[in-house]
């Protein structure tokens, strides 16, 4: 079962391995710049947030942001490219693999890319900055990154499946993904929001990703409401991605 998904995932990992250095360089540069610019640039103005030093406050979110962005990017562009440009999805579909194999293989590729890239950014921040953590908190944090990458990989797969024009994938990123990420409190505490807006913000899946990952890394546990949000979002997005792909292929 899912041998086809594993073969498709294996193909994507082979391609990733070939370009891993250039990929990682590009992926590390952006969050590291943000970390240096905000973490150090604003350190003199914002000493701490709720008792947490500001560079430490933003680091978990930046790492998670790298992971989820990578998961979304890879899934959406890969699915679009294989479907519209290379038409390799059609080649997969005339073999005995099912559409479930294809979509699950692609989702796992996005998830793996997100997890790898997030982990590398984590290591780079750890190496190049004074950012330090309690390593016993790492499993909870990695779990948080893993579930979040899965959610965003599914969202990317949905976009790559339904969007035919490449510029529209960029638009979804600018109009939906980036605002969702930046509204979720990577750079500021959620308490900055007016009390009327706060309950809505707390329900966003991205809030669960960034607040949950911060709590996981700094305190070693994910608050239960964020954990439920993360798992539910991943499950719903997974079902939606599989359903959407299946529908598209049946057209």
């Amino acid at each position: 079962m899912f041998k086809g998904a594993f073969s498709i995932w294996g193909r994507d990992m082979l391609v990733l391995r070939r370009s891993i250095f250039s990929e990682l360089l590009a992926v590390v540069a952006y969050p590291l710049t943000l970390y240096l610019a905000f973490g150090f640039g604003l350190k003199g103005y914002i000493t701490d947030v709720g008792g947490v030093p500001y560079p430490l406050f933003i680091a978990p979110g930046l790492i998670s942001m790298t992971a989820v962005n990578a998961a979304f990017d890879d899934s959406s562009w890969s699915m679009w490219f294989h479907r519209r440009v290379q038409r390799t999805i059609e080649e997969y579909r005339v073999t005995p693999v099912t559409v479930y194999d294809i979509v699950i293989g692609k989702i796992f590729s996005g998830f793996t890319q997100g997890a790898i890239k997030g982990s590398v950014v984590f290591l780079v921040i750890l190496l190049l900055t004074p950012f330090r953590i309690d390593y016993s908190h790492l499993p909870a944090y990695l779990m948080c990154i893993g579930i979040s990458s899965m959610t965003f990989s599914c969202l990317g797969t949905i976009c790559g499946t339904v969007i035919d024009k490449p510029e529209n994938i960029g638009r979804v990123q600018s109009v939906v993904i980036v605002p969702l990420i930046f509204m979720a409190g990577i750079f500021f505490p959620l308490t900055s929001y007016p009390a009327t807006v706060l309950p809505v913000i707390r329900l966003l899946p991205t809030t669960a990703v960034f607040e949950g990952s911060r709590d996981a890394l700094l305190f070693g546990s994910i608050p239960s409401h964020y954990f439920i949000n993360l798992v539910l979002s991943a499950a719903v997005c997974f079902v939606l991605a599989v359903y959407t792909f299946n529908r598209k292929m049946a057209e």
Partner: protein, 308 residues
């Protein structure tokens, strides 16, 4: 002989327009079957239905006895597909493209590696197996797509316009590969090229507007459409004076001149006698009945008008 492919009253409609209309067909195992038709005739729709990429609106089709509707996975296990466009993975080398195909068919390395060696040798790509398809010529890419379709040793091979866009040498090389497959598997081929169908196919069907117009071997089709009323006449001298004379004869439908040679289309077979009477005394080098080509048959069935 048992049938490898059976189509039962297949209909496919797109927004009310019928691309294929109650199409039935049986293709004998081990033969090369050619489906000819102009653009939009319904050929690719039929291939997509037979390869389970598309579901028919009505009817069912069977490949080696398996229904495309209810046993798609079994059908896909038995078929190889060469699509119209080269859908190779440009981020994988030639060999990796074939390996991925083998894996998608559930093959183990011990099974696919020797087979891939054999296919790369057969298609003349062994020395380029570690190169990426983007660096290949169109003909090489096409051969790689054919090799990929054969990795799992399919029982039925579908080729959708396999030589479109290739130079004559590449076309001939691909024909040789396809000829080599004859008898070992059933080949279902669509093409625009009449010479290709003539050279490769044991049986040809001409279709248009989603329905079959003619079906048979190439000689059968030519015989059926031979009306014995197109003649070629070559004059030794004074050819110019014959053009107006021939065009003015009531039983001549049209005259086409190429140098000293005239192609005369008569209104019917009975017009040959008055034509000979009219040409009595003319200095004729050669007169012959023009045998119809497959292209003549095709054009007479589907019309000469260009399709979008």
């Amino acid at each position: 002989m048992p049938q490898a492919i059976t189509l039962n009253e297949i209909t496919k409609s797109y927004s009310g327009v019928k691309a294929v209309d109650r199409f039935s067909l049986g293709v004998e195992r081990g033969t090369v079957f050619g489906l000819l038709g102009p653009n939009g005739a319904g050929k690719t729709t039929l291939i997509k239905i037979l390869t389970t990429l598309m579901r028919p609106t009505l009817g069912d089709a069977f490949v080696e006895g398996f229904s495309v509707l209810s046993a798609g996975k079994e059908v896909r296990r038995l078929i190889g597909v060469v699509p119209q466009e080269n859908n190779l993975d440009r981020y994988l080398t030639a060999r990796e493209n074939l390996i991925l195909h083998g894996r998608l068919h559930g093959m183990r390395p011990a099974a696919y590696n020797p087979r891939i060696d054999e296919l790369l040798e057969m298609t003349g790509l062994a020395s380029r197996q570690h190169d990426f398809p983007d660096t290949f010529s169109g003909g090489m890419q096409r051969r790689l797509v054919v090799a990929r379709a054969l990795v799992h040793e399919p029982r039925v091979l579908f080729l959708d316009e396999p030589t479109t866009g290739l130079d004559p040498q590449s076309r001939r090389a691909l024909w040789d590969h396809i000829r080599g497959l004859r008898r070992s598997m059933t080949v279902f081929l669509t093409t625009h090229y009449m010479d290709e169908a003539d050279a490769l196919c044991d049986r040809i069907m001409i279709m248009d507007h989603g329905v079959s117009l003619a079906d048979g071997t190439a000689p059968e089709l030519k015989d059926a459409f031979s009306r014995a009323h197109i003649y070629q006449v070559e004059f030794r001298a004074d050819h110019s004076k014959y053009e107006a004379m021939l065009a003015g004869l009531p039983f001549v439908r049209s005259v086409e001149r190429t140098g000293a040679t005239f192609q005369i289309t008569l209104t019917g077979e009975e017009a040959i006698k008055p034509l000979m009477d009219s040409l009595a005394g003319a200095d004729i080098r050669r007169i012959c009945l023009k045998e119809p080509t497959l292209e003549d048959v095709f054009i007479s069935l589907t019309g000469a008008k260009v399709r979008e």
